[in-house]
Structure formats: C-alpha cells, structure tokens
Point group: C2
Chain length 296, copies 2
C-alpha cells in the first residue's frame, strides 16, 4: 500500500463529505461564516475525521450517521487553531502557509468565528439523531465530543500550556498532562466516537481510547521534533515557533534523541494494541504508523 | 403575588440547582475552572434557566431532566458575556459591579474560560440522556441549544453587532436582526427547550418560540432604555456604556419614546399569545410582565 497516495485519495473523499456540512456564507451574519469557512478550508489532511471514519469502518459501521460527527470533530479542531493563533494566545500570523483568521478578519471576528465553529460542531453532530434515530450511541458520542474538547480535554490542556509559557518549574507530569489533553484528547474523541457509533463493545472502546491516546501523544511529540528539525518549505510555518513563544516542549525537556525514542515506543505499543483486536483495518493500521513517522 | 420577592426566592432555588452542575476547581487545569466559576457566580437573576424551568412546568414537566439544560443555558449566557467583554470586543472592565473575567484572569484565560463554558454546556446537557433515556426530546433540545447559540442565533447577532459599531448605515432591518439574534435567541432556546422536554405539541412549541422572541426583543430594548435612563448604583455598570462603545442602539435609532412604546406593544402581544395556550402558569406570566417592565 502506498500510504501517502492512499491518504491523499481519502483526504479528497473526506473533503467532499465535510464540504456538505459547512454553513453557507449568506445572510446578515455572512462575515462570521466566511471567517469560519476560511479557517476550515485552509488545508490539513483531515486526520481526525479520517481516524473516526476508519475506526467506524473497523467495527463494521456502514451508515452516514458518522458524517455529521466527522464534520463536527474537524470544526472543533479548526476552532481550537483559530483561538490558539489569537494575539492574546500564541499570536501566530501564519498557519499552513496562509494568514491566520484574525490577520484576515480582525480579532473580534476571529473570536466569533471560533465560537461559531465550536457551537456549529454540536449543531452539526445533532443531525445524527435524524439519520439514525434508533442508534443509542449518538447521545453518548455527543458527550464524548464535549468532554474531550473541554476542560477535561483540549481546553484543559491549553490552559496548562498557556500557564506554562516562560515557566521554569515544568515537570514531566505537567508536560505529559498538556500533551495528553491538548492533542490526544481530540484523537481519542475521533476514534472513540467511531467505535461507539458502530456499536463496539465497552472493552473494544477502551482499547481504542488507549490506542488513540498513545497515537495522539506520539503525534504531538513528532510535531515538536519537526518544529526543530523541519524546514519552512515543508511545514508551511516558521521553524522554531515554539521557541519563539518560549514554549516548553517535550523535545526541549527530554532532548531530541529521547523524544524520538519515545515516539517509536508509543507507536509500537499503539500498533500492538490495535492488532490485539479481533477486527482488522489494514489502512487504519498503516495510517497510525504513518502519522507517527511523518515528516510534516 | 409579590413578583420581585417571588423571583428572589426562585433565583435562590435555581442557584442551588446550578451549583450542583458546576465543575470543581481542581486538577492541573484548575485556573480555567476557577475563571469559569468566577464569571458564572458573578450574579444575575438566572432568568434563562428560570424561564426554561417555568415553561417546562407549564407543560406538566416534573422530572430532573430539565436541570442539566438549565445549567447549560446559563453557561452559554455566561460564556457570551466573558467573550463579549474582551478587549477586542466591547473592552468592558466591569459587569454587575464586579471586574470582568479578563481583568481578573488575563485575556488568554478569559478566552479559554469562555471556550470552556461553551463546551461544558454541551457536556452538561448530555447528562439528560442518563436521567431520562426514553425522552426523545433530548436530542432535539441539544440541537435547539446549539442552533440558538450559534451563527443562526446569538453568535450571528454578535457578528452583525460588532460590524455595526461606528457604522452610519444602520437600517431598521439590521437593528431588528441584531436584537432578534443577540438576545432573543437564547430566550427562545430557554422556553422552547422547556416545552420540548415536557412533551409540548409542535403547535404549542411554535407559540412558545414566538412569545419568547417578543419577550427577548422587549427585554433588550428595555436594557437600552435603562442604559440611558438608569443609574450606576442600580445597574452595577457605567451608564451610557453603549454610547461609549459607539453602539447603535434601538433607543438611539428610534428615540426613547418610540422604544418605550415598542416595549409595551411587544409585551402586550407576548402576554396575549401566552394566554392563548390551554395550559397556564401564573408565575411565568407575571415573570414575563416583570422582565419587560423592570428597572434594572
């Protein structure tokens, strides 16, 4: 399997699904919708919806009920980037080689676009009730989506990350907390919702959540590694932006070699756990492997 | 009925219900939870949860399923105030006589506290699935909550409000759009969710939504009137803050007398429509009347 080509094909398929769930930029409030869609369509490999869809397929899911949740998780991911880039947060002017939302639309509109995306994620997900009214996993999935995105997930991780800037008293526990919540939480939500909506058993859900946690952690550490070793051309953003923001990263804390070793170890554990499941999805396994070893 | 005393008693009862749904300020991310609870507990009459609960009772609702939604609507209202007060938005330093969230916790934490409250609202509401698993109105209520809070509701209204600052080309349509979405939308969500969860018919839901729309509009116009005619002591915030922000208000556009007439007309229509329902709730009728004629 040429995994990069395969990911490219699937990204295009997913982009078509996602586009169908975007709000139309019309009405008196069209500016905020334009800003939402600008940030949503700024690129990205759509990994979270891809992981969700493939986990859903892994457990035999075959309906369109997964689609509104695929759109919802990507909206939440996008809102987090929009707010994260704000002047009061990371103050980033570029992302994926394009100007960030507040640079194009102004700070007030960027705040509202983030709020709009976050809220529209839940509005979109709620469409699942119409598609498969009898699926008792939908309510559960709504809760997982909110929990993993909120103070016990991504927002919680962001909080500690913000507080840790310029901080000298970083500990390994604190660093792990940030990474586990800031990045892993949404990866966990993606895969867990895929499993829940397909009717996976509780023990299968537990394995999926653990795999996702390790993949998310490895993914974020790899991101830090690339921030140090990558190039502007490949990454589409200035190199060393973490250092610019005085962020304590895993690489700075543990050193580059240890970081690379940890990525490899987490990766191995995640794949092994994945293979312990009775059900199989070759593409998903390859995708997880690729994500962790990626070069951009 | 001494409506002011009665509102005071019910506000206390509602505060007890709401307190039970707040997250505990503990864990590595405790700062954001503290900031959320600071803004949530900064006061207010809890009108949205009160309207929700009373509409639920109006249609015979008697279960605790309404409680997570009462907390959720107040969390969404609170997040909107936190983000609205930010320097990039209205840049307000005081609200209800207390320092605003970004003044106390800093701008980054205020953004995160707003995001946290909005997300936690949906996480909280999702608890309703456990309380009354057979209630088919819960999924519908989740969607109403998201829609009325988002780009087709409050965020949409905020967007046009932000764009209209310093604007000379305000029209009556635009002004109505702002008022209908910025304030009415959450009042509509409150009363509509109360009706849905209690099992009201579709035609009853329609009437409730219309009543709520008028009450919300009248409530917001009254707010503008008080901004001009009130006192710092009564309002707990600087007088004329709309003018400070160069906001085009209903009062500035239509004049004080016309604004007062419109409040009275909307009020009359709302009460009449309310009385057209077969079911009755005397307190709710008095509450609607009071809200519109209030002096702070």
């Amino acid at each position: 399997m040429d995994i990069r080509a395969e990911i490219g094909t699937r990204t295009e398929q997913i982009n078509e699904i996602l586009a169908a769930w975007l709000p139309k930029a019309e009405g008196e409030q069209r500016t905020v919708i334009e800003a939402m869609n600008y940030s949503f369509l700024a690129g990205g490999k759509r990994l979270r919806p891809m992981l969700m869809q493939e986990t859903y397929r892994l457990f035999g899911g075959r309906s369109r009920v997964i689609e509104p949740f695929m759109a919802a998780i990507e909206m939440i991911h996008t809102y987090s980037l929009v707010h994260d880039d704000l002047p009061a947060m990371d103050n980033d002017e570029y992302r994926r080689g394009k100007k960030t939302t507040h640079v194009v639309y102004g700070e007030a509109m960027a705040i509202l676009a983030g709020d709009g995306l976050l809220t529209y994620a839940f509005e979109t997900a709620a469409n699942a009730f119409d598609i498969e009214p009898q699926n008792i996993g939908i309510g559960h999935s709504m809760r997982v989506l909110a929990r993993k995105a909120g103070i016990y997930g991504m927002v919680g991780g962001q909080t500690v990350d913000v507080e840790s800037e310029d901080s000298k008293d970083m500990t390994k526990e604190r660093l792990d907390f940030i990474y586990r919540l800031k990045t892993s939480a949404l990866i966990e939500a993606s895969m867990l919702i895929g499993a829940i909506l397909a009717g996976a058993t509780q023990s299968e859900q537990k394995i999926v959540e653990e795999v996702a946690g390790k993949v998310g952690l490895a993914f974020q550490i790899q991101d830090d590694i690339l921030d140090v070793t990558g190039t502007m051309e490949v990454l589409g953003k200035p190199i060393g932006s973490d250092e610019k923001n005085h962020k304590m990263t895993y690489v700075a804390y543990e050193g580059l070699e240890k970081a690379k070793e940890d990525v490899a170890a987490l990766s191995g554990q995640a794949i092994a756990q994945m293979n312990s499941l009775v059900v199989k999805n070759e593409f998903l396994t390859e995708l997880l492997r690729y994500l962790i070893a990626r070069e951009k």
